[in-house]
C-alpha cells in the first residue's frame, strides 16, 4: 500500500510537469507576439500588421513617460521608463494611434 501511495505521488508529480497541463495556456496565446519599442519619441516600427489572436507589446525605452493610445480601441495608459503593456487585438481594421502626452508621435496598428 505505501508503494501505491508513492507511485500515485510520483504519477501526480509527473503529471504536474507534463506538457498536457501547459496546453491550455499555449492554446490561449497561439498567435504571434510582436513588440513595438517606444524610443527616441517614436514607435518602432511605426506601422505593424497583426492578426486577431496575436499579442502586441509596447515597451517604453525613453527617459520620459509615454502612452500608446488609439481612441476607443486601446489605451496603454501611462508607461514609465522600462514599462511594457501587452494587448490582444480583437477589432479588425487600421488603427492609428498616438502618445497622449506627445500628440505628434504617430503609429498605426493594422489588425487583419
Amino acid at each position: 500500500m505505501p508503494s501505491r501511495i508513492i507511485m500515485s505521488a510520483i504519477i501526480l508529480a509527473l503529471a504536474a510537469l507534463s506538457p498536457i497541463h501547459s496546453a491550455p495556456a499555449d492554446a490561449k496565446s497561439a498567435g504571434k507576439t510582436y513588440t513595438v519599442l517606444i524610443k527616441g519619441f517614436a514607435f518602432v516600427p511605426a506601422r505593424l500588421e497583426v492578426e486577431v489572436g496575436d499579442t502586441v507589446i509596447w515597451k517604453n525605452l525613453d527617459i520620459v513617460p509615454h502612452t500608446a493610445t488609439a481612441k476607443k480601441v486601446f489605451d496603454s495608459k501611462k508607461l514609465d521608463t522600462g514599462q511594457s503593456w501587452s494587448y490582444l487585438p480583437t477589432k479588425r481594421g487600421n488603427h492609428p494611434y498616438t502618445c497622449l502626452y506627445h500628440p505628434t508621435m504617430a503609429g498605426e496598428l493594422v489588425v487583419k
Binding site: D62, I63, V64, H102, P103, T104
Partner: protein
Amino acid sequence: MTKTLISSVAAAAVLLTGIFIIGASPAKAADAPTDPQIVGIVLAADQIDIDYGKIALAKSKNKGVRDFAQRMVTDHSAVQNSVIGLASKLNVTAEDSGVSTSLKSGAVDITAKLNSLKGKEFDKFYIDNEVSYHKAVTDAVADVLIPNAQNAELKSALEGAQPLFLKHLEHARLVQSGGEMSHK
C-alpha cells in the same frame, strides 16, 4: 502691448541664437563651449523651461496649454535628472558660461512678462515663447552643443535628447496653431 510681447519673444530667440552664432566654426572657435559649460547650458535651458511650465500651470485655464506645460515640467525634469546623473558619472561639474548666463538673465525678463499677463494674452505669450525657445534650443543642440561635446557619452546623450526637443517644438506649434487649444 503686442510690440512689447513680440520683442520679448524675439529677445529670447536672439539669446539662444547667440549660441548658434558661436557654432559658426564649432570645433576651433575660441569661445566654443567646453563639456562642463555644455552641461551648464543644458541644465540652465532645462530649468528655465521647467519654471515657465510651472508658471503656466499656475495661471492658464486652457487645457491645451496646461497639458503642454505639464509635459514640459515632467519631461524636462527627467532630462534634468538624466544630465545630473551623467555629469556625476563622468565627473563633470557644470560651469557657467556667457551663454548660460545670458539664458538666465533673459529668463528673468520672460518670467516677469509671464507673471504680468493673464488669460488669452498669457496663453499666447507662453506658447509663442515656447515655440521660439524650443526652436533655438533644437538648433543650438544640433549645431553647437553636439559638435563641441568632447566626451562620447555626453555627445551621445545630447544626440539622444534631440527627438525630445523636436517633439516639444512640434507640440508647441500644434498648440500655437489652435490644434490643442480647443480641447476644453
